[in-house]
């Protein structure tokens, strides 16, 4: 027991690693603040395009979304990070993460927002247009607010996944929480910093998980 505490909850090492881990936490928060809006933007573009019912838009769009749902985000990230330099384009870990998330999480957000827009009755658009609003105005002021409200639990659930996914940044040397913890671990030969990172992730994300679990239970019960 003593030995286990020494390896996994070593107070001395925890104290030494704390600044490094907190530094990583800050970067994880900054990274999330970058990639969540990027993903939402990508998703919004896809969802608005999905409103165009023309087959020349519809089919490529579906292929695009399915492609990125099938493609593991880590593979996309490595492809950008290790593949592009061969084409003479060296982007750095941070930019690669931003692009990969824009593409990958955009596809997921897009599916959710599309379902949200579909859930708003057509009559709403017709009523809005008949009062003189333009198509864009009707979308912005009438459809989207209701669409977002209708799929809010799904949007939150995806956002949780996106924040968790920022840990992939560690593979391409972005100094986020997991990367910093692994640095500290390799210097100290002790897994305490990784345990610290896990605890930090848990403390930050647990409230969201709790909330989601309640919302999801309610949603499934209501769908019967």
């Amino acid at each position: 027991m003593e030995a286990l505490i020494q390896s996994f909850f070593n107070a001395e090492i925890a104290a030494a690693a704390l600044p490094i881990v907190l530094d990583g936490l800050l970067n994880t928060i900054l990274l999330s603040l970058l990639v969540v809006p990027l993903g939402l933007l990508g998703g919004l573009i896809l969802a608005l395009l999905a409103n165009v019912r023309h087959p020349l838009v519809r089919w490529p769009l579906m292929a695009w979304v399915d492609f990125f749902r099938a493609f593991p985000p880590l593979v996309l990230l490595v492809l950008l990070f290790a593949g592009l330099p061969f084409a003479g384009l060296e982007l750095g870990g941070f930019a690669c993460v931003a692009i990969a998330f824009f593409l990958n999480t955009g596809a997921y957000y897009g599916e959710i927002l599309r379902a949200g827009i579909d859930s708003v009755p057509v009559g709403q658009v017709e009523a809005a247009r008949s009062t003189g609003l333009s198509g864009l105005q009707a979308m912005t002021y009438v459809v989207l607010p209701q669409a977002v409200r209708n799929v809010l639990p799904d949007l939150m659930s995806n956002t949780l996944e996106v924040v968790k996914l920022t840990s992939l940044g560690s593979v391409v040397a972005v100094p986020e929480l997991l990367f910093q913890a692994r640095q500290a671990q390799s210097v100290t030969y002790n897994p305490t910093p990784i345990v610290m990172a896990a605890v930090v992730y848990f403390l930050i994300l647990w409230p969201l998980v709790r909330l989601l679990s309640r919302l999801e239970n309610r949603a499934l019960a209501a769908r019967r």
Partner: protein
Amino acid sequence: MSKWEKFLDTFFNARVMEKYLPDILSGVLVTIELAVLIVISGLVAGLALALVRSLGLRPLNWLIIFVVDLFRSLPPLVIIVLMYFGLPAADVSPSGFVSTWISLALVLMSFSEEIFWAGITSIPKGQWEAARSTGLSFGQTLINVILPQALRLTIPPLTNRTIAITKGTALGTVVAVTEILGQASSAVSNSYNPSPLMMGAAAYIVLFLPVVVIGRWIETKFAWKR
């Protein structure tokens, strides 16, 4: 060489591709093996937990809820890294393959338990009461009355989750699992040519695109009907 030829020669180099094709294929096998293990063990464990939870034993349920919340909050990569680099300090040294399998199975277990449980609780209490009053035992009611209805309800969210978590097999690369991405990455550094990575990417699409398309079909087929 024109620009286009140079591009092809770099990213789709036939000689490099031929040389590393066997490696990529062996990676495909490892990925499939890992994916099948994760899906089976994760879903079985998730269903088992949901069934235990339906017994309604308070302290046990709190434990289940905590475990589920824990594995829903932690990024899968963090769990894998913790198992692979952390456990050896406790004299347990799981291989990269085992670490990835167990970690992702735990994650799938947690997500699927939530979904199974939501499905079970969505069946009205009257169904339980009616079944029990006809003389069925608790177990018979659960298996013959509640689960068939609950499972149908859980299929669409479950397919989505399962696909998303199974794609996580690529994370195994970080702990030296020789799955597709791992094979492709080491081939890139050996050949100093990105063609193996393109092959790896193609392999993932060939493997997972049908699953996504089938998933879409399952979703519409089992879509909520009133």
